[in-house]
Symmetry: C2
Subunit: 662 residues, 2 copies
Amino acid sequence: MSDLEKHQRMANAIRFLAIDAVEQAKSGHPGLPMGAADIATVLFTEFLKFDPTAPSWADRDRFVLSAGHGSMLLYSLLYLLGYEDFPLEELKNFRQLGAKTAGHPEFGHGAGIETTTGPLGQGLGNAVGMAIAERLQEERFGKDLVNHYTYVLAGDGCLMEGISQEALSLAGHLKLNKLIVIWDDNGISIDGAVSITDSTDQVARFAASGWNTLNVDGHDPDGIAAAIRQAQASDKPTLIAAKTTIGFGAPTKAGTAKVHGAPLGAEEIAGTRETLNWPHEPFEVPSDILDAWRIAGLRSAHAHKDWQKRFNDADTETRAEFERRNRGDLPAGFEQAVLDYKKKLAEEQPTMATRKASEAVLGVINGVIPETIGGSADLTGSNNTKTAQTNPVTPDDFSGRYIHYGIREHGMAAAMNGMALHGGLIPYSGGFLIFSDYCRPSIRLAALMNQRVIHVMTHDSIGLGEDGPTHQPVEHFAALRAIPNLTFFRPADITETLECWQLSLENKDGPSVLALTRQNLPSQRKTFEEKNLSANGAYVLIDSEDDAAVTIFASGSEVEIAVDAHKELMGSGIAARVVSVPSFELFEAQSADYKEAVIGSSPVKVAVEAGIRMGWDRFIGNDGLFIGMTGFGASAPYKELYEHFGITKDAVVAAAKENLNA
Amino acid sequence: MSDLEKHQRMANAIRFLAIDAVEQAKSGHPGLPMGAADIATVLFTEFLKFDPTAPSWADRDRFVLSAGHGSMLLYSLLYLLGYEDFPLEELKNFRQLGAKTAGHPEFGHGAGIETTTGPLGQGLGNAVGMAIAERLQEERFGKDLVNHYTYVLAGDGCLMEGISQEALSLAGHLKLNKLIVIWDDNGISIDGAVSITDSTDQVARFAASGWNTLNVDGHDPDGIAAAIRQAQASDKPTLIAAKTTIGFGAPTKAGTAKVHGAPLGAEEIAGTRETLNWPHEPFEVPSDILDAWRIAGLRSAHAHKDWQKRFNDADTETRAEFERRNRGDLPAGFEQAVLDYKKKLAEEQPTMATRKASEAVLGVINGVIPETIGGSADLTGSNNTKTAQTNPVTPDDFSGRYIHYGIREHGMAAAMNGMALHGGLIPYSGGFLIFSDYCRPSIRLAALMNQRVIHVMTHDSIGLGEDGPTHQPVEHFAALRAIPNLTFFRPADITETLECWQLSLENKDGPSVLALTRQNLPSQRKTFEEKNLSANGAYVLIDSEDDAAVTIFASGSEVEIAVDAHKELMGSGIAARVVSVPSFELFEAQSADYKEAVIGSSPVKVAVEAGIRMGWDRFIGNDGLFIGMTGFGASAPYKELYEHFGITKDAVVAAAKENLNA
């Protein structure tokens, strides 16, 4: 058997596993695995550095299937290479409940899946983050411990999505030369030929952002191998444009949209078996080919061993630190640093915007957690995400800890996901809260993948003032609270900001958003409490000695209004209490008793928040009073806006009194 | 006074109005107006076709300030040119409550503002839609009535946002040669030089997508004029890369980030007056310069007159149709066509997926409303948005009514906004509901601008099955219901689909999202009702003769479950009713009496929807029962998913019974 023939049979093993699994599931996407099998075979058998027996080896090359609908390509590879989580049985259960082989690759379902993909372009964005992480970690731990490539297989759809531009232009700027993107250039999308909707010269486009670009026949193994070698030697990130035929081998459907997202059908499959000379039963891989794959799976075992030896030879401190960061554990000194700072705040009672509070808190955090990597989408001075410890990362110097992400919220969030997935780093960054809409798909994926990424989102309401309704979040609190496994924080003062930051960092299993103000806020926490009160999501900030007639619930900047209203009510002889609600999600996680106690039994319940009501009925009931927004904001100095929209102490007091009398 | 000197003084009038307004407001962005004043002066005094006395003239050129933070550039121009809505008083009230001169240009605040901009890149996307609309309308009404350019002034931020790639690649593909984008290439963003975060050769990038590209000194009026002339003659869209100095004329701050987004301060202003030889008081424009501007304002009055003459000469039917479409009124036959079809449905009682129902309904709609323009983000066969009437639009043929938007959800939604703003067309298009996240910023802007754009969003829940959690909306109903002035519909069967389509089309003041199923649903409306029941947002689908012990609320595909549960409860002797809830927003708009009656007083209230609970407390109270999702979905055949997540008739019945006994 010639090398070429062996290659082709190995590639056909991928093709038919994909065909058979899709057919059995009566659902899925055979076209991409069939078209990209040659590329994948070359990459995984000749280049990719990995160890199926240790899939989480920190210095493995990363492979991202950005075109996630081609999931059977990845599952086939993982089975063929001998990954424990992907026995043949899993492939036979493709797209079935409880299987590791979901419709699109799901991070966490099985070792070997580096990220969840499917929403197009996200994988490319993740890969940019992984490649950044590699450079950062290499700078910190040296090439002996960190020296790997990030490979991406992207489809036409990935490149058409806008996020691709943000990702590729950031990668080009940062000269991420160990990022290698292979474009499965099959010229077909769901509606037909790509040419019915796009005429972009993708190669020229990548070149315009400083990429090395190569063209190759995606069915020529030698050509693919040569291109990857050239890519590895480049001082820029590389795009390999690989011309392929979607559904390669299918006698009537190859090269058409018909083979993209539906089973081939028995007749076409029979024809494909004939065309590709693959006379085997469904799911059967001839033993010589399976052996060849399994041998390829062991190809970099020695590299892993060598790495382990180098790691064992490193000094104790380096080893411990490398492992701690990769486990995602925080350094020992973190908790004490938080408590010390909290004491100081209780004494000093500072008044400041929570965005400034966050900056001050970050000064503490970045001092004790060396693995945080800050950044902002071109709003550094507004988000206050840069501290004394965080020098900028530049194309020539990755010793820094701050990334100027540019005006690329979506690419930023996707890259942060990639950094978190890579491991060893805690990415946080900044934007305006309104632009959570621009990066929402990536935030959702962080939540789905249980990744610790932290979004500092400032200018969180009409409190930003003059920039007006295009920049004023109104529905965003509700919209973010709606995302499962995302913790949305809206701290009321600097102490809550500190607590919310602590909770964000301690939550290894999901992303957080910190919504922060542009405007100044007084300290609300008057005494030092060792306990993190924000951890309960909501807590009684001001209790009433008597049975309270009124309870006021508020978050963030509106806690000040609640406290002022409380004072006035008490002055009028009306017993009242105030509940601060920094996080709905954490509140829901408390015991039923705790929740009942916090909500209490006041006959009048008022919530005040400079957003829409949605979600607050949980606290105040659907007959409760809500002081907030019902539509978009306006452009004016912020104090006038609070007056204009009736979000004031007076409004809270008046509503409460009216309701008491009713 | 030489021509150059006159030009410079006219440009300086813009600069100082911007400087003075920002200074007075103590807030705003002087840098862009100062840097782009030369470009704007050339464009508005020599090229732009418009009539300040008839700002809504249908055949005017469109000018989009995509870099919306430079709003004072636009307001200055509108004042100088004599637009009634922008007297000097408005400029003095920049960024104040109730002023037409909001922080960012707000469509609807004053005639002359073509679109709301500020969130970067959106204006560029809108402009692509406007340019598409121009070509479509020209094809329908001829060059005599429709023949205008769309100009955009875009900043570095617009080009860095991913949406720019979607917009420019679509424009390049469609060869929108009357779209002229001037890039204010000042090399500065908020964090500093653009070069700290981007190294893209923007000109090469646009060229890669088929654009004509030109380079020019943005302070050289002759060069700018020559470039615009070349652009007008091109058979492709044109990018004019205009090198400018941000804050041109400011002695110490010009060319730096300091001049971007903050008042210059008294000292710098004094220096600028000296540098630019502008010894006038704040807000004072010397009368010769104001005259020159006002004369420029009249420059295309004759063009308007000529157009009016051509319009008057057109045949009655053309005139009437042109005006009807531009007013946004629906054709006379529409309502009857809806009723006829509704009757047919009541007789036939078809079972089908609501996406297929939508296709059938669109067949009726597109037959009677010639101005609908359909499309899909590469999911035509899944969204079912293409009907027999809608041939594809191609670069060479704009007679079609269907746009293959490609895998560009964000660019699509922004372009749809632009088409609606242009007037004369009703854009609708398709995507998966999950990807509402990708285009959310544009949907929000449609709501803020009161624009009729209709998003068909299919595969609206775990009901899509095997594609898994990356493709299954869970939080999206709540997140879309949260956007003010957006109507979110989730119809339960084909009759509701028809009604929701009718409501979407009849709502001239806001966007709609139709969330539709992949899976089949039976007809629920058993008899013909002339009245559009969905217009009430929620209505009693099945009433109870006795006092109902249980009321079940549901939307979309879960109405079937509610109806099945109702049957079983009745069978057990428990009086129950079913409320169908196609739209929360329309329900809220009903009278208090109506709402109370629909919600009713059953001791047990259950809501069932394959999404999160958020928002449903409005119907069921916070002690009500909710059968739905609490986290992300999974990959499996959809019926298994409904079982797995416990969204079933049995679950509804069990919960209701348990609660009745409690």
